[in-house]
């Protein structure tokens, strides 16, 4: 990982990571950090399943807190029993009828109480499953996601366009996702919105997401899919319905024509180079489908599937040698003259 590429930062991140030494100084209280500090951190940083932003993740978080409460109860009870068992002799001497006590312990502790607890968890599970299945049937928007090593193709079949690594959704509406894969198995996961579902080649799995408020939610691949599994991320951008409609309308347009001479030259370089074998830009002859559709490339926030910020420096680095940012990805190094590179960047930056 080259440090020169500035990674994207989550705007909602409340505190930045301390330096190594600062963290090391905090370690003496390791145990308390573990129990409480990290849980708190879990709620304040990154994309946490415990900070649900939509009904899908909310139901699951509720189920979790319910199970956690029961689990803490059980753990405390078993620990107490164990403690009493081990100290009983010292306190009260030998028991009168250990066999009888034992039968009761096994019957109540091992069978009856666990059965009641498990049944209640099973009931809660079935209720959540039912709600999940019911919600899926009444989706407002359809989106198809195709997993590829190591990026996401995002299609809007109702609106007739394709984009990549960024899923825009209208706030408060249920979005049905049809998931499939072009190569190996991937798994679609947006912790703040919904649990994960695999993208299997040759099959389509269906799930749904819904966001309660506008925001950018981080998503990632959760099924090991090869060399760059770690860097197969995406963003879900939840917008007010009007904003979403405006975005859809923009996306439906073909690519913007080059705005100036540099950009025009960039377009010529692009169309004359190997770029067109993999990338499509609607409105031009570029129609490759091995890499992301670049029609509205400049409107996207990230490069390399949610890895680095989409800015001029990162874009130049990515075109020249994407391998230095994301080793093993399918984009070969592009040998361009300096001014050709500048022109291509100018062209791509105009694709709003």
């Amino acid at each position: 990982m080259t440090p020169t590429h500035k990674p994207i930062r989550d705007p909602r991140e409340r505190h930045s990571a301390g330096s190594f030494t600062a963290l090391a100084m905090r370690l003496p209280g390791a145990v308390s950090i573990i129990m409480l500090g990290a849980l708190a951190a879990g709620c304040s940083q990154g994309a946490s399943a415990l900070r649900p932003q939509g009904p899908g993740a909310q139901m699951i978080a509720d189920l979790w807190w319910f199970m956690l409460a029961l689990a803490v109860l059980v753990f405390v009870a078993v620990t107490a029993f164990l403690f009493i068992a081990l100290t009983q002799h010292r306190r009260a001497g030998p028991p009168s009828d250990p066999e009888r006590t034992g039968r009761h312990l096994i019957m109540w502790g091992g069978v009856v109480v666990p059965t009641v607890i498990l049944l209640s968890i099973m009931l809660a599970t079935v209720l959540v499953l039912r709600t999940h299945a019911q919600t899926q049937r009444v989706a407002d928007v359809n989106i198809e996601v195709v997993g590829k090593q190591w990026w996401w193709e995002v299609r809007y079949p109702d609106h007739g366009f394709t984009t990549a690594n960024e899923i825009h959704i209208p706030v408060g509406q249920t979005v049905r996702l049809s998931l499939t894969s072009d190569d190996v198995i991937h798994s679609f996961w947006v912790p703040e919105l919904q649990g994960k579902l695999d993208l299997n080649p040759g099959e389509t799995n269906v799930t749904w997401i819904q966001a309660d408020r506008p925001g950018v939610y981080r998503g990632l691949c959760a099924e090991f899919c090869g060399l760059q599994h770690s860097n197969m991320k995406f963003l879900v951008i939840a917008q007010e319905p009007e904003e979403f409609d405006a975005w859809v309308e923009r996306e439906q347009q073909p690519a913007a024509p080059p705005a100036d001479n540099t950009a025009l030259r960039g377009q010529q370089v692009f169309l004359g180079a190997a770029c067109v074998y993999c990338h499509a830009i609607r409105g031009t002859n570029a129609s490759g489908n091995l890499g992301p559709d670049l029609t509205h490339f400049a409107s996207r926030q990230t490069l390399g599937a949610g890895i680095v910020e989409n800015n001029r420096g990162n874009l130049g680095g990515w075109i020249i040698n994407a391998q230095s940012i994301k080793p093993g990805n399918r984009m070969p190094p592009m040998y361009l003259e300096a001014d050709d590179l500048q022109a291509v960047i100018a062209y791509l930056e105009g694709l709003r």
Binding site: P7, E13, L23, L27, A30, V31, I33, I34, A41, Q45, G46, A47, A49, I60, W64, M67, A71, V74, F75, T79, L82, A85, L86, H89, A92, G93, P98, G102, L105, I106, G109, G110, V111, P114, T115, L118, I121, M122, A124, T125, L129, A133, Q149, L179, D183, V184, I185, S187, G195, K196, L197, D198, N200, G202, C221, A222, G226, L227, Q228, P327
Partner: protein, 630 residues
């Protein structure tokens, strides 16, 4: 004392030693004694444990901070694949089988296992497969698609190197070792128990080994099938998992987890048996709830075959179907709960004697309860959608496998070490080792629950500051080194002990209740001089108080042991066991050539088969032994 003798002259220890004694020097390659082979399994598995532990530490360094460059993405993938594959196939299963091989014959009062040469063959296969995998690792060619090796990532198209070929062949090869050991343990337990040791009087460790072995017999063949299919896809060009050719990648997942879930219990069930052996000794009373515990062990073995789909809750299967597997996965908490409360009941008010083995067992109880509780959580399908393939699951199964199996295993090492070596391990080093491991373990893995809930998936070779995972990852890395130190102290303890340090133990340092404590430490090659008639579940406590002991004598001039009936253990026949032989090793090499050679060229398949045939004929060539007599 009355002796029911089957021979004319009184049995003599010296002559038994001559007949049963193991070969030395280079001839040790021909050894077949169950204790020699068992110990080889245990020591070899521990070496793989150390290697796999080191890979874990390197991975923890890589993840200590965002964007670390200790391992390349490819190296990281090889590391985690090797870590998982070694821990499951080269450490956990073999070491549990090794303990079974060493102690089951002693506990049931027989001279050796039913098929000693097969036993030796199993060990050599295990060793060769393990060495193959680690040679590949050293050459940078280790498998890199995870220990679960999902199709189609593992297909030739997406993994063109020989890495996956090595996995498929080495694993198929390795399963032979697990299967022969399982068959051997089953037959030995069914046919060679001391007279009077009916099924309902077997030590619970023996029960657990029996259940484990049956599980291996039913779980390993689907894995072999799966890996042979994979090898065919890769080497011959079939389309079993290939979508484009009409194949089905999900078939791999079903076959793999049909094996993979029972596998977890294959590791865990013998650990339960260890706990049930250690607790009565230190509570100084018989286990309370023998029958519920034995039945729960069997129940766990059976139910564990109905859970595999809970590894596939995110694969897009029908919701109704998944609910059944969720219910079955939760149900397995009940037999586990029964066992936990049986152990608590046994300790309840008992005059507990505190020593290092018990410390590991108490640690086990606490950790296993946590692992069991998170296990119930991940059985709840929607919650699993959130935490599946995240660090929450990594935390869960380390609680179950390290807390649930390795802690009892370390307890067992401290417990049985004096029997194997004749000397006690250092108590103070043992306590240090326990506390460091226990604390370090919780620092590392408790934190991972949170890392997972924060959205970090498994098998990420790196992450970015924006992901917000650096604090829990750094904590886990620090904790991992504390665990490493904790385990290392036991290793140091063992090395000290192996060099002859430590207090002499005598036959029975702990006041144990099972027959292995009746013989000297280390046990003689022939185990018991005479085979006692067993009347209760705690034969040693019974024999100590009995006024009259009935014992059986066998011939001391050939490898003879007593065959008894399966349920009631009534004496039926005198079994003649074979002597040492080099051919098990030769056969293992021949089979190894077949498997590993097939990666280079399919010509090795007929060549290896021919060599194997030669080895099998030589193995079975009639020796000097007299024929079996009834």
């Amino acid at each position: 004392m009355s002796t029911s003798t089957l021979v004319e002259q009184p049995v003599q220890a010296g002559r038994l030693e001559q007949v049963w004694g193991g070969p030395t020097g280079l001839a040790a390659l021909t050894a077949v004694n169950h204790k020699t082979i068992g110990l080889r399994f245990i020591v070899t598995a521990l070496i793989f444990f150390v290697l796999a532990g080191i890979t874990a530490l390197v991975m923890r360094v890589q993840l200590a901070q965002p964007g670390m460059d200790v391992l390349s993405p490819e190296a990281y993938n090889q590391f985690f694949t090797s870590h998982g594959t070694s821990m499951m196939f080269l450490f956990a299963v073999p070491i549990m089988e090794g303990f079974g091989m060493y102690f089951v014959p002693l506990m049931i009062g027989t001279r050796d296992m039913a098929f000693p040469r097969l036993n030796a063959f199993g060990y050599w296969v295990f060793l060769l497969a393990g060495v193959t995998l680690y040679v590949a690792f050293a050459l940078g060619l280790a498998p890199n698609a995870g220990w679960f090796n999902y199709a189609p990532l593992s297909s030739k198209q997406f993994s063109p190197g020989i890495n996956i070929d090595l996995w498929a062949t080495a694993i198929t090869f390795l399963e032979i070792a697990a299967l022969v050991a399982a068959v051997e343990i089953i037959v030995t337990i069914f046919r060679q128990r001391a007279p009077g040791m009916t099924m309902s009087k077997m030590p619970l460790f023996v029960w657990s080994q029996l259940v484990m072995s049956f599980m291996i017999v039913f779980a390993m063949p689907p894995l072999m099938l799966a890996s042979v299919f994979l090898a065919l896809d890769r080497m011959v060009g079939t389309h079993i998992y290939n979508v484009i050719g009409g194949g089905q990648p999900l078939l791999w997942q079903h076959l793999f987890w049909w094996f993979g879930h029972p596998e977890v219990y294959i590791i865990f069930v013998p650990a339960l048996g260890m706990v049930s052996s250690i607790i009565p000794t230190f509570a100084r009373r018989s286990l309370i709830g023998y029958l519920p515990v034995a039945l729960s062990t069997v129940a766990i073995g059976i139910v564990s075959f109905g859970l595999w789909v809970h590894h596939m809750f995110t694969a897009g299967l029908p919701i109704l179907g998944m609910s059944f597997f969720a219910a079955a996965s939760m149900m397995i908490a009940i037999p586990s709960g029964v066992q936990i409360f049986a152990w608590i009941a046994t300790l309840w008010g008992a005059p507990v004697r505190w020593s290092v083995p018990l410390l590991w067992i108490v640690g086990f109880l606490l950790l296993f309860v946590i692992g069991g509780l998170t296990g119930v959580m991940v059985a709840a399908v929607p919650f699993d959608w959130q935490v599946h393939d995240s660090y929450f699951v990594v935390a869960h199964f380390h609680y179950v496998l390290i807390g649930g199996a390795v802690f009892p295993l370390f307890g067992a090492i401290y417990y049985w070490w004096p029997k194997v070596t004749g000397r006690l391990l250092s108590e103070s080093l043992g306590k240090w080792s326990f506390w460091l491991t226990f604390i370090g373990f919780n620092i590392t893995f408790f934190t991972m629950h949170i890392t997972g809930l924060m959205g970090m998936p498994r098998r990420f070779y790196t992450y970015w500051p924006a992901d917000g995972w650096e604090v829990p990852n750094l904590i886990s890395t620090v904790g991992a080194f504390v665990v490493g130190l904790g385990f290392a102290l036991t290793l140091v303890n063992c090395i000290r002990g192996a060099m002859g340090r430590g207090q002499r133990a005598g036959n029975d340092p702990w006041g144990g209740n099972t027959l292995e404590w009746r013989v000297s430490s280390p046990p003689p090659s022939y185990n018991l001089l005479r085979i006692p008639h067993v009347r209760t579940r705690d034969p040693l406590w019974e024999l100590a108080e009995a006024e009259e002991v009935v014992e059986y004598e066998l011939r001391d001039d050939q490898r003879e042991t007593l065959g008894t009936s399966t349920l009631d253990a009534t004496p039926q026949q005198r079994l003649l066991l074979p002597s040492g032989s080099i051919w098990p090793l030769m056969l293992a090499v021949a089979v190894g050539i077949t498997f590993v050679g097939s990666i280079a060229s399919l010509i090795f398949v007929p060549v290896g088969a021919a060599l194997s045939l030669v080895a099998i004929v030589a193995w079975n060539w009639p020796g000097k032994e007299r024929p079996r007599e009834q």
